[in-house]
Symmetry: C4
């Protein structure tokens, strides 16, 4: 049975609190999970329909690798639990985070037609373990689908390693990592890069304007 | 008499705290209510002129379906209580939230002449219980009127269901739902969609600029 | 002697905490005051060089209508205390708030040459006690001057009533009111109007772009 | 050995908390230090790979002027400790702060080719101890280098005084000061100036648009 005193529960609840303060779960969107056992797969996932601004003993429930309840509970797993299953079944990842932000949704729309966005020449790329000076980080962008099994299938094509990130068009980002801190680190770095890029795009870049810093 | 220990009081006070932290009540703007009885209509509404950043026993008072005090108190109901009355008299809604944000006011100005704004192809539309892939969410925008009974009358034309949302031009948004969590969920989803749309509009969309993500 | 248990001290300290959380005192900028006695004028003002993110017994000191210390203390009054003196000497105002925000500095630069900015048709104008539908709120913008007595003199030309607001070019806004809540209310409403205006200006307004809300 | 009860530890931990709340350490980026002894140089620096949102007894460790551990510990100093060494070896500075913000990275990219950015006519310049009305603040922008000793060498060319600020292209800002409060003051003032400048640049400045403030 789920132990709400376990380190994994506490770690996931702490991340939920932190992301909630940033308004990364607007409109009860978003879902989070943390692995409990490697084989057979079992993980804690956010219960459906909860207010993520509050911290309660009903925030998460235990599910198996098919996304079915693995404990007796009235709670329902998040509607998008199947995406988390793909991650835990295909890799050894320890944590997966799915959030909607204005920046990640705008990026997913602007670059959705080209199927991915690539960042290069940014120090923050190191959060994704790229250490060479000319390293490039590519985040795939997949089509959104109202049918979750169909969406999970498109998503699974990009789930090959223990950490990664996938944008779903106008449906937020899913980031996973070997453990909770790595997943959060990559999520934050991706959001930073998105905000950076959008800010730069919103500026006029004609040199005459740019060089005026005397008021 | 009003019971400040009641679950409804606490629920409304929690929402007030949460929206206050986001600066959604700038300049003492905004007002909130929660239903106490179905018939005859009675609800708690924010008292006029209070600092919504503080949590006190004078934050709300009980009023009836005509917006009159339903308890002995020196407090005055919010000047816009009549809009909340329209909601509780015409529907079975349980909670109503009115806030000013920069994004909702800008949207109301940009689209005020066309009388509404429609969103489609956004995952967050699901917060409004639209589940089909091609569903469209339309939020009406009404003219502001300094005379509250006149404003309440224009507003009432859009109050037909237990949940809904109406923008008032340069005067914020009013969102209601079956209960407090549903009202808050829809308010957050609407604000997310407004911010998303404004961010996208502020960007240059010439392909040559958009595709430059190497720095 | 200053009583740090007095209601005025507490009220000013609460406002300081609230504005500090919003980052309205970046780089130790900004200063605040609250009146203690009407005649002779005495008020509490922020001490110079303090970290406004911390709440201590040395945050404020008592000064007279000439801005001189009115108690034995090693603390120095804020360098801009003379502007607060103008307010308390010329009116019956109870509180004065000076803050730098990105929005108020940008507005002061964009409209500095024309000497003022006027808002009309915004519900938030009511925070300034304008209740008519076609009311207009004008906020003067004065030239900044490194010499504080010179700056105080330009400022004093706009200090005629118990509440008001003046922008100083690239030097923030000063808002005052009959009491602390009124001063804060007007400050927040002004900042909301500034942010609203800047957001609207940053958008492309070509109709073809504006009407695209389907993604 | 490091004393986590010392005033310096507490001061650095407080600054870390404050900057963390602002999201200035996204993706575990950023590093901070505070001097313990003048000669031989010893300072506390952030340990590598920690979650800066949490406050623990393993957040900092003591290092010497070569960036080597000066205490028995399993902790590793931040990968960029050599930049802090340059500051403490070359000056009498007491504190150094390195953070990534969207604004500082965008500024570093926009002005990187010209090697610096200059601000003039802004009240906030006073945070850098420029008091004359026509004073100009210039912040150098250096090329980023994945090799930290090479980066530290380029950086050192601008480390001549007890306080200062250097932007590293797409790699944040490093600010130092005589003490922790001065370093934080300058960091905040620099970020304010960056945000101010970017906001102004993002606006259309055609007079016909600018003067429309009636809605």
């Amino acid at each position: 049975m789920t132990n709400i005193e376990s380190p994994q529960w506490k770690e996931l609840a702490d991340i939920k609190d932190e992301l909630a303060v940033r308004d990364w779960f607007m409109g009860t969107s978003g879902n989070l999970s943390i692995r409990i056992t490697e084989q057979p797969v079992a993980f804690l996932v956010t219960a459906s329909g909860k207010d993520k601004r509050k911290r309660t003993s009903e925030d998460f429930l235990l599910v198996n690798g098919q996304g079915e309840k693995a404990e007796a509970t009235h709670l329902k797993p998040s509607a998008e639990t199947l995406l988390h299953c793909e991650i835990y079944n295909r890799t050894s990842a320890g944590c997966s985070l799915h959030v909607h932000t204005v920046a990640n949704n705008v990026i997913s729309e602007l670059y959705g037609d080209q199927g991915s966005i690539t960042f290069q020449g940014q120090e923050l790329i190191k959060a994704f373990d790229y250490w060479e000076e000319d390293a490039a980080l590519t985040i795939p962008i997949i089509k959104n689908d109202a049918d979750i099994p169909t969406l999970a299938e498109s998503f699974s094509r990009f789930v090959n390693e223990d950490s990664g990130a996938v944008l779903i068009r106008n449906h937020g980002i899913t980031v996973w990592g070997k453990n909770a801190l790595e997943a959060k680190k990559r999520l934050e770095a991706a959001e930073f890069l998105f905000q950076y890029h959008l800010t730069l795009q919103s500026l006029r870049t004609s040199p005459s304007v740019i060089q005026r810093t005397t008021y």
